[in-house]
Assembly symmetry: C3
Homo-oligomer: 668 residues x 3
């Protein structure tokens, strides 16, 4: 599409009374130019086994087309109808908690052939029904697809075959997974136990990887079906979601977004985040960076919050701030879950642009201004391209590995906490990043790659990281990186294993810090922020320089953080978990050394700067104020024009941003 | 009975050695004039299937009769014998956790015909055995009956028929419950899923209502059987209990006391409450007000604590204080769970009047004084009638609705917290209340009706509340009232829906308060008590006056509390959860406006005043001191005589109440 | 063995590459003279049903023998192979959570005949294979054996027979367990319900006792098999473990160590404990005292931590301190779990002497000094005998009883907390103790017996305790002692029942203390340590003197702690839970009265003194410094020589102990 899309999820099926024309009129007034339909309502479209009814789809398509609003049609397969489960209870996934119960969405076994038979049929019937409709700009496959921990006997059976293909002999498997421990080894494939009760992290993690592959396969299968029908110019997308902690927190454990996005034309995501006093924009930025990086192109935000819950209803100004933050990260669509609030069932309090009264309201009124600005500025601000010099390497395998092997058995911190510890500080320093993954082949595009907790990694990946440094790259590795191979088998070398080459440091011991700080307060933080917690490695530099040591009566001789010149590059190794403030200091040091530090880094959160190059080749700079306080800085940019007000700013001139407001500056 | 009853539960079956004559002697000395027997000991009376043995019942009846102690006989149906479950494991209720295991009481499916067959047989056998015994003054049906979340296939089957009767078509059901959401709708009754896994609050709440109806039906069925045998003058009662939070906290979620009490002659309840430093009398008062209101008559406290646990053993004086508090609320019986402490099993530490040594002790000795005073003052203090001007409207449906739709997904506050937030402050202001329910037809009897969180309500009820105000009533509605209809379907009007008429205020948005207070500290509380928490609605008055606004940078223009003249009456609307101290201020304001405020409201907790009119038409005033400190006030009453000491007090004369002590004043 | 053993668990099976010769070389350098093998690796030795392969056992035996390292061979029965569970899923224990899942160790039903058949076969095959090997000094039966809560139908069936044998009639059972309560009584053995759902503490506790007996039986059965093969001079041991709170905390609930150790020649235990800043040596001492007391002889520490987790990696010096602490308690072996760290599976982070790189490291280097000193000092410090005057009486039955009847329903304190409250203070006062149990017959060996929470006890035991005092013994009883009989039936006398005779005190009431302290701060502790919490009994002395009373407005007249001269002895009764500091005061008072107090009690923790008599009849005194601070005292000992440095100390001379260091003094 050659314009910014501003959208809503729309459910004619959920409406308490006839609203279609009224809704469309109100959408038009708000500048809504796309709606997403159909993906949750299989039972409406197939009320009984083999009985199809696409009335609601068709009437919405027709009405939207008439109104000039585009439509994305979703396949309805992520919520199964009652009749199916009544006829075939076996479609419900068997997980470690046993077989599921009917009620929620996302409860089926995505490998069950009965489910797949019905899913294929409803997709084909739907596609046959809609395929020629001119309102449709694209299709969404399923929704927030994950594996739902399906792990019943049929899945275990497949997993055995997967292991056979991979290891050929049980002896090879026993050796690599260390199954001899506690008599877990198998000497005949027939003896293979279910993974459900396993205490072997290699076995368990391999199963998780296998489960993520099931998601890849399921999505690719659906894409292939839909491709048979879609017309030229129509895209196929998914709505990926992130690790959920009551909001979109981090890397998704149950899907590998980098492989799962392969068959799609366009990556779509949903991003939900704290708001009101807690709005920082970090999740908007993080989710956007992941989405943009999956296919190294722009992306769609298929769902984000409008009013949502009592704790997410935005302050005046925040809805605008949020929408333009998505676009500033490279989104070409911002769509709300959902148009209207629902009057029954689970998401009654997950409110849409319209409240339950379905009338105009302050949030809807603010949306109108967004729609108008999106429309007016579309050609200037869509298709924003990034040229980031910094990247973070994330790994689903390491996330899983660290769930098996926590910092401490009762540790609440996990992989995503460390990713976010780093990401958040970069965000606050206005350093934009791309996200790399173990399959990425473009390490050399970056001046600095940050590698948090790469606990699980094949030799090949670590060798490539060494090479990256050797060839002049800057890298930051944290604790636990390089520890285990791709099968979560701990390396038998001294640690951090292969990357010792680049890092010039090793260790044999790691301890739990109690009242430990960095000696001399290396990063000059407030006294109570000079805190090492949860995990510390006792580092011994070989060729590295010591950047920080521990302040501790027993461990004071060991290094905490080191830096090493290797080939033409430089590798920093962080041996312990530090406070946010100290992490900021470590990153600052590395950014400066990697020549990424600039004037924009001197501007501090709550002011957030985002950049990109538009279709005209012009650089666009956003400056967001994520606070209740008016912010004033001297413009760090060469001459620029604010696309919202047409004001022109010279470098050094005062730039004033109102609370929860922003500027969109086009560089001359 | 024409006297105050002072009683104990008595279990000859549990006694470690022959005690009957000794026990009766000690009971007589304590003034115990009624015992409750038989309701937990089915296995004693029917040791094997079809083998009956009422020896223990008969000997206790005979001995009590001889001693002039009355007996209440309970049907033993709430604890099933081992032989039954061994022969018919299917009598155990299937709940969302699967089928129960034998051990505890209250584990059977109260709709299971096998259970009902045996239950009917033991009831009839028992009744045939005892029906002519002159010791018996009444019968108790079962005990603390609830539905035990029975929700197995047979119960689901019945529920479908219930839904068919109610909605006739699946389409009507789908529409009203919003089942289209996430493909939950049914297009054939055969497809109806179990409610056990449902995520639809309307479906789930309707099932809870249906489960409460099962309790009504079960109790009515037993009453009908017992009525075939009971003699004239013998009452039939139940022992209802309350929401349990380690003590009797609030409205019972699993029984509708107002409908379930219908077939009974007399409402009986059990009330357990914190004591020692934490004794306030609030639960005694609350439970009593509910019990008295079910049938608008006096009631029996069939169980309350004697020594109970280490944390409930009363300080000297408290047992007396508690007993007379029950009577002051309108109880005509105060009975202890239980006479003697038990030497084995689950309630070993739920101690009775006698400790495990079965000897006289300080608590028992205090009971003696109660028995003596009850006997001496019976005609003066029993049958106390109330003429309360204030009532609180409670709703089981709203309680259930708010469990489905909490203030926030992880909110710990629920319906009863709000009921108690109001009740407790009224109590401390010495405002006595009646309890209304959606079926009450006597709204007009009250000057002020307080309506906490009436989240689920049919139009008809809300219309009646509007009328009540229009005709001159005063009402206080809190947040969330009027939000959803009787099927937990949110109203599609602006909120608070129908009661906007009386309240003159509406809102579309609600948010979670963080650091919010009322602007200007409207109710003049200590600074740290000026706190709005958990829930706030952004109110816009239409015809109402604003009583308070929020102190918040984004929401400061909205009203927090409003008042509205409507017809001849006045409606206060509270849009947010406030501290206890602020609630007291709001109530004070409304009580004054409704002309309920009087001198007794100037007397503050820990002094508690309770009033009533006795059979002679005399007004009795109790003044309780719920504290360790001696309290002295000027008597707010016209000339009165203390029935305990015969002292006479003129208005304004000093009235001194010792710690944990009280006066019973008869007004001249 | 006539030397101190210094050992490791060694798993050739788990090694990532061929290491045997290298490992043995490194062991020799560290003075390791014993390895423990085979006990977890059934699947290696029987890779398929009936296929046996003892290659790894044999090659390790041969290589160790060649190197002069002894071997303990374990029966591999505590971790079942995959093929067995695949063929016979029924070997997995059914617990209250249903049937287990394959994965972990210790998941089988130790009464299942299929399991027993295979277990016997693998034991016999293993024994036949190794029995003549000269490297073997002993055998370990299974590992950390417990009952794993096996409670399926077959176990219930046996339990019924056990009850029949014990009670003969169901009436006797009903009476003793109080089963009439809530209709739980049985009138035919066929009606006996499973214990899994029971709410009857007597029934439940009897089942726990029965389950512990299953462990006794299982171990004795294995011992009998192994005895058929073992040669003269070879010992048979078990590796008992303790109540686990992330470390070895207290009395093991699921095994009665005193009966289970009967068939063994030698008691072996594993002891894990906090270290780093949290190292106190208390668990080393407690576990050692239990182990030593089981058979009143020296014992083996078959497992303790080397590097273990990040939170247990020892500070420099601590590994030595720990090793000699074990020996000072009477251990003749100190062995590590384990030699090398594992590269996969559950215990990857439970690190051994070698880290994952299998190279020399600081902890291993410290082990070398231990091995050398053990070897050099063996004849002086092994076989240490104790002549303790103080003993603590522990009771598995009381532990179970207090789990059924907690101080309060939500109390977090349990039996072991009270045991440790006492034990820890004795430890800090340098009072060494033996551990008695209900079957002990040597009460008279002690001057002071401390009896914490002896909640469950037969008359006979209490009578013996009375006699002990009458004959001149000193005893301290705490609250709850004597309360219930051996079937957890509360005594019907006034409390504390039978021991009232010795204690001269009784009570009928007990309450939960809120803001209660001892009047007059009896034990002169800091104000905030004068705290009575969780439980208080309202004591009335009969013949006793009051040692302390409560400071409380209602309970101030009752005694809190009393002392009573009875016969020639003296009994202290503690009626409430007090702070550690107050407990120390109470113990000091009693120790002085019992003439146990001496100069060594004036030396305070973190200095810990341990004593014993060696084979030469010399007294050995250890002085440990459990702190980061250098400690200096005047030697309280007559002339002594430090066996490590050969320095000689006269009484009163300064004795300086470095941080985490110690002296071994031989008295002249």
């Amino acid at each position: 599409m050659n314009k910014l899309l501003y959208g809503v999820a729309y459910y004619d099926e959920y409406m308490p009374y006839e609203r279609l024309e009224t809704d469309i009129q109100m959408m038009k007034e708000a500048g809504i130019n796309v709606v997403r339909i159909a993906e949750s309502t299989w039972s409406t479209h197939e009320p009984q086994n083999g009985v199809f009814d696409f009335t609601s789809v068709n009437r919405v398509l027709d009405a939207m087309y008439k109104a000039g609003i585009h439509v994305i049609v979703g396949t309805p397969t992520y919520a199964v109808p009652t009749w199916m489960v009544k006829e075939h209870p076996e479609v419900l996934a068997v997980t470690k908690n046993g077989q599921g119960k009917y009620g929620a969405r996302q409860i089926m076994d995505i490998t069950n052939p009965t489910y797949l038979f019905y899913a294929e049929r409803i997709i084909r019937k739907l596609m046959e029904n809609v395929k020629d409709h001119p309102a449709i700009i694209g299709y969404q496959i399923d929704n927030e697809t994950k594996h739902y921990d399906t792990s019943g006997p049929n899945v275990q059976q497949r997993f055995i075959k997967y292991l056979k293909d991979k290891f050929e002999t049980t002896d090879a498997l026993n050796k690599e997974f260390g199954l001899a421990y506690w008599s877990n080894d198998v000497h005949a494939w027939e003896d293979m136990p279910s993974t459900v009760g396993t205490i072997n992290g290699s076995f368990g993690a391999e199963f998780s990887k296998f489960q993520r592959k099931l998601v890849d396969d399921f999505l690719a299968w659906q894409v292939d079906i839909v491709k048979e029908y879609r017309k030229e110019g129509q895209f196929i997308t998914q709505n990926f979601d992130f690790e959920w902690r009551g909001y979109s927190f981090g890397v998704q454990p149950n899907v590998n977004h980098f492989t799962a996005s392969d068959p799609f034309d366009m990556t779509g995501v949903d991003i939900y985040h704290p708001t009101q006093e807690d709005l920082t924009g970090i999740e908007i930025s993080f989710g956007g960076d992941v989405a943009r990086s999956t296919k190294q192109q722009n992306y769609y935000v298929l769902e984000t919050e409008a009013q949502a819950f009592s704790h997410w209803t935005p302050f005046p100004g925040q809805l605008r701030l949020q929408a333009f933050s998505h676009v500033a990260s490279g989104a070409n669509m911002v769509a709300y879950w959902h148009w209207h609030s629902i009057h029954n069932s689970f998401e009654t309090y997950w409110k849409g642009l319209l409240s339950h009264d379905l009338q105009s309201n302050p949030v809807y009124n603010e949306a109108k201004t967004i729609g108008a600005d999106f429309s007016r500025l579309s050609s200037k601000i869509m298709n924003l391209k990034k040229k980031n010099k910094t990247a973070i390497l994330v790994s689903n395998e390491s996330l899983t590995g660290l769930n098996w092997f926590k910092f401490k058995y009762d540790s609440e911190l996990n992989y995503n906490d460390i990713v976010r510890l780093i990401y958040d500080e970069l965000y606050k320093l206005n350093v934009e990043v791309d996200i790399l993954h173990p399959g990425s082949e473009n390490f050399e595009d970056y001046s600095l790659i940050i590698v948090p907790c790469l606990y699980v990694a094949p030799d090949e990946l670590l060798d490539r990281l060494n090479q990256y440094v050797e060839h002049g790259g800057h890298a930051i590795f944290t604790f636990k990186s390089g520890f285990a191979n791709e099968h979560v088998k701990v390396r038998t070398t001294s640690q951090p294993g292969i990357i010792e080459k680049a890092c010039g440091v090793n260790y044999q011991m790691f301890v739990e810090p109690k009242n430990v700080k960095l000696a001399g307060n290396t990063y000059e933080v407030e006294e109570d922020k000079n805190r090492v917690h949860t995990w510390m490695e006792l580092l011994t530099p070989t060729t590295a320089e010591t950047l920080a040591t521990y302040d501790h009566p027993a461990w004071g001789d060991y290094a905490a953080i080191t830096g090493n010149e290797y080939g033409k590059g430089y590798a920093t190794y962080i041996g312990c978990i530090v406070s946010s403030e100290m992490m900021s200091g470590i990153l600052t040091q590395a950014l400066k050394r990697a020549s990424i530090w600039g004037e924009e880094q001197e501007v501090n959160f709550p002011l957030v700067i985002k950049s990109g190059i538009n279709d005209e080749g012009k650089t666009i700079k956003y400056v967001f104020n994520y606070s209740f306080e008016l912010q004033e800085i001297e413009s760090p940019f060469s001459q620029s024009i604010d696309l919202l007000s047409n004001s022109i700013y010279q470098k050094g001139e005062p730039l004033t941003i109102k609370p929860w407001d922003f500027k969109i500056l086009e560089m001359k």
